[in-house]
């Protein structure tokens, strides 16, 4: 119930998310007005498999590894630059590496993003785009069997990344988009502090109380929250995209006690609309 309340507040109360969605919309409108009329638009749905891993040095050096389902949906429109927005999610089951029989973990990772990349270099059949990406909502939510207070673990944030897209036409049918994103800064919350299931800055500031669930987010520069993503998208014809995606993040709110998590996913996407 506490977790449900947390999610409810997280989704519906954070005004920052709404503001950023609005900001993304304004940015996209601004870019759109400058661009030429010929364009490409697609709407795709994605499914695939993922391998994931997790380690939180605040509590243990044991790795949690596993696999699961990757899914998502995106809208991409390209005129001169590329705008894209979408959601991605990975649901995986992870197990501890050094023991069995307990500690099985359901891990939910999800992003709701927007990016814009602008063409900076064009050469025959390839093109380089540079721009920015906002993970308007980046969630890591875990449920660990066998634990009590630390059974549920929530980390979420709004990430601002430098983002690039190298696009290359391989032949008449195939096109490659190789993407790389690197975190610049973030506003995030890590639900587990050094020794309690509450955010570390909340405790350090002396702001914790038992009156209500508090989910504050804190400015976090990239040296405290490293977040990298790569995505190789091979588009075939008008309808199909085959991708290899890797995301990792490493954060710390307590010195020398880093939390590292990531996943790789191989997916296939079908474009419901491609024009």
């Amino acid at each position: 119930m506490k977790q449900k309340k947390q999610l409810f507040k997280f989704i519906f109360i954070k005004k920052q998310f709404l503001f950023l969605i609005f900001l993304g919309f304004i940015i996209s409108k601004g870019f759109t007005q400058d661009e030429q009329s010929s364009h490409h638009f697609s709407w795709d749905i994605t499914i695939g498999g993922a391998l994931s891993s997790f380690q939180d040095l605040k509590y243990s050096e044991v790795h949690w590894n596993g696999g699961g389902l990757a899914t998502g949906m995106s809208f991409i429109w390209q005129r001169k630059g590329i705008h894209a927005t979408g959601i991605e999610g990975v649901i995986s089951t992870e197990n501890p590496k050094t023991f069995d029989g307990t500690g099985k973990t359901k891990a939910y990772r999800g992003q709701f993003y927007y990016y814009y990349v602008h063409p900076v270099k064009h050469k025959q059949n390839c093109q380089l785009f540079l721009g920015a990406k906002i993970d308007v909502m980046d969630v890591n939510w875990r449920f660990v069997d066998g634990l009590s207070n630390n059974a549920s673990y929530l980390m979420y944030g709004i990430n601002f990344k430098a983002f690039s897209n190298y696009q290359r036409k391989l032949n008449d049918k195939w096109q490659l988009d190789a993407q790389l994103g690197f975190q610049l800064f973030s506003f995030m919350e890590d639900g587990n502090s050094f020794a309690y299931a509450a955010p570390q800055p909340l405790l350090e500031n002396g702001d914790y109380n038992y009156d209500k669930v508090q989910l504050p987010i804190y400015f976090t520069p990239f040296w405290k929250f490293l977040n990298i993503e790569t995505n190789f998208r091979f588009s075939y014809g008008k309808r199909w995209v085959f991708s290899y995606l890797w995301r990792m993040q490493q954060s710390y709110f307590v010195k020398n006690h880093k939390l590292t998590t990531g996943y790789s996913a191989i997916t296939v996407s079908f474009k419901l609309i491609s024009k």
Partner: protein, 358 residues
């Protein structure tokens, strides 16, 4: 040969050759990045006896919040030196567990324990053994509730009814595990609006969700009360604590301000202790029964590298008068239950007498 034909086709076509180089490079890059996050992780720990002991001791040393609690009188270094010398890699699993059990007994803290789900072994400080139970539920059911009571929420955890010709409200709550809302508590207190006082029977209430404990307490607060400080462990060094000031704020709904008698025993523990220490500064509240069980700290839990599950107190509450609550506190009025007399519950009877005599 078809294979040779295909290879020639690729290799003689410059554009295709170029593409193959690019795709191969990217696939190689992909393979390098595959589970690359593990490069950023520390290696998995060892699981031999000494490694497990050192892992557990490090957790206790860095996270346990009550090493300096004066009621516990702990000598950390002596415990470490003694127990570390008992451990070697030839020790059986049971013996290693026994060493941890010894450590846990020294802490005298019901929140701090170790268990092994595979074997069912548990190492814990048993607060039940510290006193008689001082509650006979059969007596409460047959003499006071008589099967005629009201409840709120989806469970029967909370029972309430009017006693003594509707002069006294009686609430029985044996756990703070269920979820309640302010409006449900409003319903109970509205039902008791014409009473002279309330008996809040939380004997054998082992705790649950501290947010629920506070939710109830707020309905008895006529104003804001500063109740004390919670010391949270925020880093590995012994002095790495943060302090959160704890206040009890009135609820926005019904507030009950007639006398409240809280019935306690040794099994009042954890969130129930939170409920009591939130209530004790309200002037029209008092406790009757036996010493409480403690469990005043918040807890964290996790797994050792061999799968044993640990839990420990990682914060400590100290009230505004400087009292530590983890080993329990005595009630305002000490009353022992006579278990041989099943015609009444002496603790409830004393509470009735206290309310009606005002």
């Amino acid at each position: 040969m078809p294979l040779q034909y295909l290879l020639n086709l690729f290799l003689n076509n410059n554009k295709m050759k170029n593409n193959i180089y690019i795709i191969s490079s990217l696939l190689l890059l992909g393979l390098i990045f595959n589970s690359c996050e593990k490069i950023f992780m520390k290696p998995n720990p060892d699981t031999d006896n000494l490694s497990i002991y050192d892992e557990y001791w490090k957790l206790l040393d860095e996270k346990y919040a009550m090493w300096e609690n004066p009621d516990k009188n702990l000598d950390k270094e002596a415990i470490h030196t003694y127990t570390r010398n008992l451990v070697n890699n030839d020790l059986s699993e049971d013996s290693l567990f026994g060493v941890f059990n010894y450590i846990i007994l020294q802490l005298k803290d019901g929140h701090t324990y170790l268990d092994d789900e595979k074997t069912g072994k548990e190492a814990l400080y048993d607060i039940e053994a510290l006193d008689d139970i001082n509650l006979d539920q059969r007596v409460v059911d047959s003499i006071y509730l008589k099967g005629d009571f009201r409840t709120i929420g989806s469970t029967n955890y909370l029972k309430y009814k009017l006693l003594e010709n509707d002069q006294i409200g009686y609430i029985e709550l044996r756990g703070f595990g269920a979820e309640y809302t302010d409006s449900e508590v409003d319903d109970v207190l509205t039902y008791f609006s014409n009473t002279k006082g309330i008996i809040f029977d939380i004997r054998e209430n082992g705790g649950g969700n501290p947010f629920m404990a506070i939710l109830f307490a707020r309905h008895f607060a006529d104003k804001e009360y500063f109740i004390g400080d919670e010391y949270f462990k925020t880093g590995p060094a012994p002095e790495d604590f943060s302090i959160s000031k704890m206040y009890l704020k009135p609820a926005s709904g019904v507030i009950y301000t007639n006398p409240i008698k809280i019935l306690t025993n040794r099994l009042c523990f954890s969130a129930t202790t939170s409920f009591i220490y939130n209530m004790v500064y309200i002037p029209y509240t008092s406790t009757i029964g036996r010493r409480t069980g403690g469990g005043s700290g918040s807890t964290a839990d996790g797994f050792l590298a061999n799968g044993w599950h640990w839990q420990m107190s990682t914060s400590e509450f100290i009230d505004k008068d400087g009292n530590h609550w983890d080993n329990g506190v005595d009630p305002d009025i000490n009353v022992q239950l006579d278990t041989l007399d099943r015609s009444q519950d002496e603790i409830i009877e004393r509470a009735i007498q206290e309310i009606l005599s005002k």
